[in-house]
């Protein structure tokens, strides 16, 4: 008679070791490119980052030195405007799909979000060029923000929807049963319960668009000079990196590497900051 209390056979133990090993290897393979990219960026870029790089604007061609202060501030502005547009719209659409929508219209909204997610970023750039830049008659930081905001919406909307659907219905009932109005239940109970996932989705969307170059080419356009005016062309790190990297000048190549490193550090810093701030007061962490 077979007994389960018998020690595992050699074959089963070997299979176990084999699969644990394979999944460990897979995890390593995922981490390796990330570590390699970051390591190489640090290696090539760290030497060129100094106070001048962070505080000066670009020098004319041929003159050594200068920095990317305008591009760093420009990127922050464009990303800020993009988030102001994309985050509320994305979360709103997700809440609609998960909590209020019924039937065909939801399917349509969801399908639209998925299609929007699949549209190449350069097409979004052209669309915003036609919608914002042409009527305004000039490139602007604002149009760049609009382009990035549009690109953030589908990711945020879909993750918000998925995360809200994971909140058990008993939580909604508990809130409604206390006489809490529907809108407050959704905002302060359901959405709050799902907040961790929603924030992750938002950060993913943010990090993804932070490195976008193509949609900015037709919108923010780039700017060699200091500017913080929302309705004027503005510099952005991805554009600056791109134009410096394809230039024939050694000094600009060096700065492109430094710019790329700064961009990554900015993204990591922003994501970490949001995590720290939002995890405060969330009891799910010390359950």
């Amino acid at each position: 008679m077979p007994s389960v209390s018998r020690p595992l056979s050699l074959v089963r133990r070997a299979t176990n070791v084999c699969f644990v090993g394979l999944s460990g290897l897979a995890a390593l393979l995922v981490l390796a490119p990330l570590a390699a990219i970051f390591g190489y960026l640090v290696y090539k870029g760290i030497g060129s980052i100094d106070w001048a790089f962070l505080t000066h604007t670009p020098r004319p061609v041929g003159e050594a030195g200068g920095g990317m202060a305008n591009a760093i501030v420009g990127s922050m502005m464009i990303l800020g405007m993009g988030s102001i547009i994309g985050v509320p719209l994305g979360i709103g659409a997700g809440v609609y799909m998960a909590e209020f929508g019924r039937g065909r219209y939801v399917t349509f909204v969801r399908f639209t979000a998925d299609v929007l997610n699949g549209i190449p970023s350069i097409v979004v750039g052209i669309a915003v060029y036609a919608m914002v830049v042409l009527p305004q008659q000039h490139f602007s930081a604002l149009s760049g923000g609009v382009a990035l905001g549009i690109m953030m919406i589908p990711t945020i909307a879909r993750t918000t929807e998925e995360m809200l659907l994971m909140v058990p219905n008993t939580i909604r009932e508990a809130a409604l049963g206390l006489g809490i109005p529907q809108w407050r239940t959704t905002l302060q109970v359901t959405l709050r319960t799902a907040s961790k996932g929603v924030i992750t989705g938002t950060m993913l969307a943010f990090a993804r668009v932070a490195g976008e170059t193509a949609p900015l080419l037709f919108t923010a356009f780039g700017n060699q000079f200091w500017s913080v005016k929302p309705n004027q062309p503005i510099a952005a790190l991805p554009i600056q990196i791109f134009s410096y990297a394809i230039s024939p000048f050694e000094d600009w190549h060096r700065q492109a590497w430094a710019g790329a490193l700064i961009l990554i550090v900015l993204i990591v810093a922003a994501v970490s900051a949001v995590r720290v701030v939002t995890s405060r007061g969330n009891m799910a962490n010390n359950a």
């Binding site: 058990p168 809130a175 206390l178 006489g179 809490i180 239940t185 109970v189 359950a287």
Partner: protein
């Protein structure tokens, strides 16, 4: 103080399924009423019609009148949220808000209804937790621990405290002990017994001994109909309907 309930010609549907049929009953104030019956007989739907939770399910409908105290629950100008604020509900599975501390859980009904006076919230939280016999176990970790970190029995008492904090006139309990061990069940039954001094309690239960232990009156539902409603003693000793007798003696259900 608790209020009485008067239900007249109550019908309820989920889509095409007619789950409650012509239920009429009067429930006295400051008493515990048990609702018993086999699974799917409509007893949960019955109490969910009392505080308008029934309508939160898509495709759910109802007809008839429900009076809770002097409030006509289904009068067109009455808002569901206002009804639910006056009628507390405790659910089958403990459902504390997982992202909130114990304190925030108990005060949620007050805070999210726009009530924000710190000192009065403190008092309400302590009173409710004391009434739910949970205060001594959690008083030191009120703001440090999540509601979800408590044991199942504690979570259910937390949910009772949360419902009591808004000072309802009527407390509905939908099988509040079905997910709990005997010791926690005992604590909650004791609690129900004490609650009737201040509240009217309606409790759905699968456990007939529980109904016999805690309830003054008992109603027996079968296939959407209220078969019999009487003093608990009478229901369990000399029921007037054959079907009630069959059920309580374990011949079906």
């Amino acid at each position: 103080m608790g209020v009485g309930i008067a239900v007249k010609d109550l019908n309820a549907w989920f889509g095409k399924a007619h789950v409650l049929k012509e239920v009429s009953v009067k429930v006295g104030a400051n008493a515990v009423t048990a609702v018993i019956g086999p699974s799917g007989c409509g007893k949960s739907t019955f109490i969910r019609c009392l505080n308008r939770m029934h309508e939160t399910v898509p495709e759910a409908r109802m007809s008839g009148t429900v009076m809770v105290g002097d409030m006509d629950v289904y009068k067109p100008n009455i808002i569901a949220a206002d009804v639910r604020r006056r009628i507390g509900m405790v659910f089958q599975k403990p459902n504390p808000f997982p992202t909130m501390s114990i304190y925030d859980n108990v005060s949620a009904g007050l805070r999210l209804n726009g009530y924000n006076k710190r000192r009065e919230l403190d008092v309400a939280v302590e009173d409710s937790l004391r009434m739910a016999a949970l205060w001594d176990e959690v008083k030191d970790v009120l703001k440090k621990k999540s509601g979800a970190s408590l044991s199942g029995g504690q979570q259910q008492r937390l949910c009772i405290a949360r419902a009591l904090a808004v000072q309802p006139e009527l407390l509905l309990m939908d099988e509040p002990c079905s997910a709990l061990d005997p010791i926690s069940t005992g604590k909650i039954e004791e609690l129900i017994f004490q609650l009737k001094a201040q509240y009217t309690v309606v409790i759905v239960t699968h456990n007939m001994q529980q109904a016999a232990r805690v309830a003054d009156h008992t109603g027996f539902f079968l296939m959407g109909k209220l078969i019999e409603y009487d003093k608990t003693e009478k229901i369990f000793t000399t029921p007037s309907d054959k079907r009630t007798e069959d059920y309580i003696t374990g011949r079906f259900g």
